[in-house]
Symmetry: D2
Subunit: 308 residues, 4 copies
Amino acid sequence: MPLPAEFHEIAKRVNNWGRWGEGDERGTLNLITDEVVCAAARTVASGRRVPLALPLQQDGVQTGMIPGRVNPLHTMVAINLEMFGPDTVATSDDTVTMGLQAGTHWDGLCHVSHGGRLYNGRPADSITGHGRAAFNGVEKAGPIVSRGVLLDVARARNVHRLDDDHAVTPEDLEAAEELAGITVRSGDIALVRTGQIQRYLTGDKHAYAHPSPGLSIRTPEWFHARDVAAVANDTLTFEIIPPEIEGLWLGVHALDLVEMGMPQGQNWNLEGLSEVCAEEGRYAFLLSAMPEPFVGATGTPVAPVAIF
Amino acid sequence: MPLPAEFHEIAKRVNNWGRWGEGDERGTLNLITDEVVCAAARTVASGRRVPLALPLQQDGVQTGMIPGRVNPLHTMVAINLEMFGPDTVATSDDTVTMGLQAGTHWDGLCHVSHGGRLYNGRPADSITGHGRAAFNGVEKAGPIVSRGVLLDVARARNVHRLDDDHAVTPEDLEAAEELAGITVRSGDIALVRTGQIQRYLTGDKHAYAHPSPGLSIRTPEWFHARDVAAVANDTLTFEIIPPEIEGLWLGVHALDLVEMGMPQGQNWNLEGLSEVCAEEGRYAFLLSAMPEPFVGATGTPVAPVAIF
Amino acid sequence: MPLPAEFHEIAKRVNNWGRWGEGDERGTLNLITDEVVCAAARTVASGRRVPLALPLQQDGVQTGMIPGRVNPLHTMVAINLEMFGPDTVATSDDTVTMGLQAGTHWDGLCHVSHGGRLYNGRPADSITGHGRAAFNGVEKAGPIVSRGVLLDVARARNVHRLDDDHAVTPEDLEAAEELAGITVRSGDIALVRTGQIQRYLTGDKHAYAHPSPGLSIRTPEWFHARDVAAVANDTLTFEIIPPEIEGLWLGVHALDLVEMGMPQGQNWNLEGLSEVCAEEGRYAFLLSAMPEPFVGATGTPVAPVAIF
Amino acid sequence: MPLPAEFHEIAKRVNNWGRWGEGDERGTLNLITDEVVCAAARTVASGRRVPLALPLQQDGVQTGMIPGRVNPLHTMVAINLEMFGPDTVATSDDTVTMGLQAGTHWDGLCHVSHGGRLYNGRPADSITGHGRAAFNGVEKAGPIVSRGVLLDVARARNVHRLDDDHAVTPEDLEAAEELAGITVRSGDIALVRTGQIQRYLTGDKHAYAHPSPGLSIRTPEWFHARDVAAVANDTLTFEIIPPEIEGLWLGVHALDLVEMGMPQGQNWNLEGLSEVCAEEGRYAFLLSAMPEPFVGATGTPVAPVAIF
């Protein structure tokens, strides 16, 4: 079933192909200029730091619903090994096997395609089975440090968490801006809180996964108008699932990643951040959310930190 | 062969057990106070960002010398998969298997033990084969964001890179402070540049590994006196290898990690940073170097960024 | 809670420590003599071959109940890669990550311990975190080829599959011998069919796992009296779960593996074999069930074949 | 560079597409009939068993030359874990990550393609990035049990091992038949010994890998004429490397796997077998070489056993 006309109309309006040159592989991350970073650093006032990553462990958020996206398998390869003889210094060492998008992560721009195309018109078949995306891999993103803004939609609506069938709309985002007392601007990284991750944190990963509130198909235009650099939230699929338009699965992914070239973050734990923002009375902060530079990868674990 | 008397004498002088309470698992990271972070944020002036991680790929720095510490094996589990039918949005997905200390990484405090003890007196056998360090795992570190200081020992000595048998001494560190025009202070993260990583970057990972310049057994006391929060460098083993004192393998590891509770970073690419510091004429910056919160792990990949 | 007196009494009666020498690591596999193999080969009459392994795939029998024992994650590392230029021969290549006991497998003799001891009195702490069992690893087993005998307990009882709380007793095994018209003898490999694996084959892996029929704590003595070389069945846990004696979890494992030194096989698909045995009217065959020689491993995948 | 005319001429002569039906995915394994197996079982006379697999361990035969084909990484996930409380039965458990063709293995028929085709005309692009070969995967092979014949080319030529540049020709195979006193016949599995694996066994895996003696481009026709079911040898690449015809890399692979549909085995340790055959004075035996049924895989570890 081809994508509906509505999708293609939005796609035209948010498309950024060529905006930063033919060869660009960073998309909206280009909007994070030196000035943006300086201004972001100036938001630091209390020195408080809030980490936003879930623990990486076998009992992670994955349920097996997404084939191959396995939770971290952490194994020891050495335990107090005295490599240099008895009574010497002993070392312990370990390894991990995991889906790169298994926990708190960034989607790389190559994570989805439609019509055989990736962001900036690259052919989708440039992703090969030899372990590599030739274009738009996460290692191309470069540093992700900017002003972060919490758009606390759940708090703005006075609910603990959004209903399962709640599509977060531009109106929701603006209500959250109003709560925050700030306006999202060019180069910002928007963190959209639904409260859905509480389901995982309280032990029900299946309820966390599906159905789930998430971003509406109407949000890419809003983010495009504000020229945000990236958006992350506290759900497994980022966008509302099942989708608003029947049959249009992953439409937001396609608009954000392919058309706009805007990285998405998922499974970010925004619960503590929500508390701190409310306490500090401010919703903007310096955000460092560095991708691990896996070469040719479609996504990457990230351990983001909000610095107040 | 038991550890030499010299080791035990230094150990007494740098020991931090109990300093932050019986239950502490963060060691010198406790020195990164809110004030330290605020001051670090104020160093940001140009907004320039310099990433310090090596690419994560199969052709990484590991040579097989350290059993089980495998380079990243990045594999695809889905390539342009149209999960929802033909002509829909297609997704690509991938996984990795790797040693947690295979690339640019932080050592967790549980990475080494001696005399059956970990940092803060925890029993070494609290690391079990069930994939977990019960104490001092990297997930306990919390956010690592502070002032970073580049101690560019190679540049201070006017060499491209230090000789293979060069042990970086306190005098070297002070010469680098003088070059930088700053004094390392409590809560700083010191990045010590030897230039050794050029060997890997130019294609000879065996020469990179061993023999290698690195930190002298005399440096832990210097770092202890300055109360630094953490130290990272651009070598595989961190300390000089083979060691200065015959038979005392990993003595610096034992002093830093076990006695002081001070995290070490290895395989950090400080080449670009050295250029930028020289250009900007300043060697202090805001450093974000967030550990991935692998539960019970002895180390973690890190994608550090210096923000000027 | 220490193991009950009943356990220790049986243990004394079935213990084989020292029987094949102080240094033995093969246990009852020593009972497979050249004569046994010759006789087994003479059972081949029709040339029919029945494979007994489950497919190795991500949708395997593991449910996450056993920490770290992950189903096979099969990933591609090359797909039609033309390494030598365009229009040359292209290769595809792949990797797997899996628990060694995730699918159809043999338990190695080092898989369980009690009272700090492995089979033949080896210290349990000879299994280290460095990826190795120093003693009794599966690579020590050598070739496993012998006469196989299907003890079709379900068929002998005229049921499709045994009830969840059915402990397979010596009386059940003798009824199955009677159905088969043969007597189990020294060096045989006994395959005990409960029918439980149908639960997995029809899509309910949770029901397959637990609760489950399985071997009674009374069977080790029976197998010891017959001097069988190994026993395999079609359940996840081999023995009845939950156990017959409250608190005595894995008692059969401890008797078979530690006391007798007799390898156990689990997750063997005996459904097709049951059909063929009934059709052929004979329940003995040549069985080849070669362990993959993973060095120092506690278990191994196996692809057994019954040859009629 | 397209494949040379010579290749295409041989390809025509050995092609088996359609021979066992349009839908066939087993190729020459179809030649192993019940009669063949019965006759093979009748060769068993002494009951002696000779295993042919290399140990599976991190220090395996792979050197990194073939991207992604990693040696086994064996890690513990539980060591003497008392899951059910103190003084109960303790379990140890482990996992592996490995290239499916890393050690002693069978190539699946889908391992190579040319001109966009797999065996029996299947499209090469039926191998997807989603971890699956839709056609000709190793799980389709079924049981591999037949008469094995050692063609001991090295012994027939009175050398310890063949020279690095020795291409094993049909004349060599016939000399080995003469030494063996038997003629290879339909359904046999031919094991061709070069002695090259001694290089690995004595510690030089690089010398083992390349250059290496191996099968000549002239051998597929010989095997086709004899209607053998499969061929394995004791080298890394199976065929001579570098190839006899400049630029024709993996030509033998393409003829055997794609045109004939004949599985190839590599890294088989035939040293002990050579000794036993010479001692027993016979070169034919019952061979069990069961593929592990990895679904959609291009190859599989195998632990073959020769039964005399």
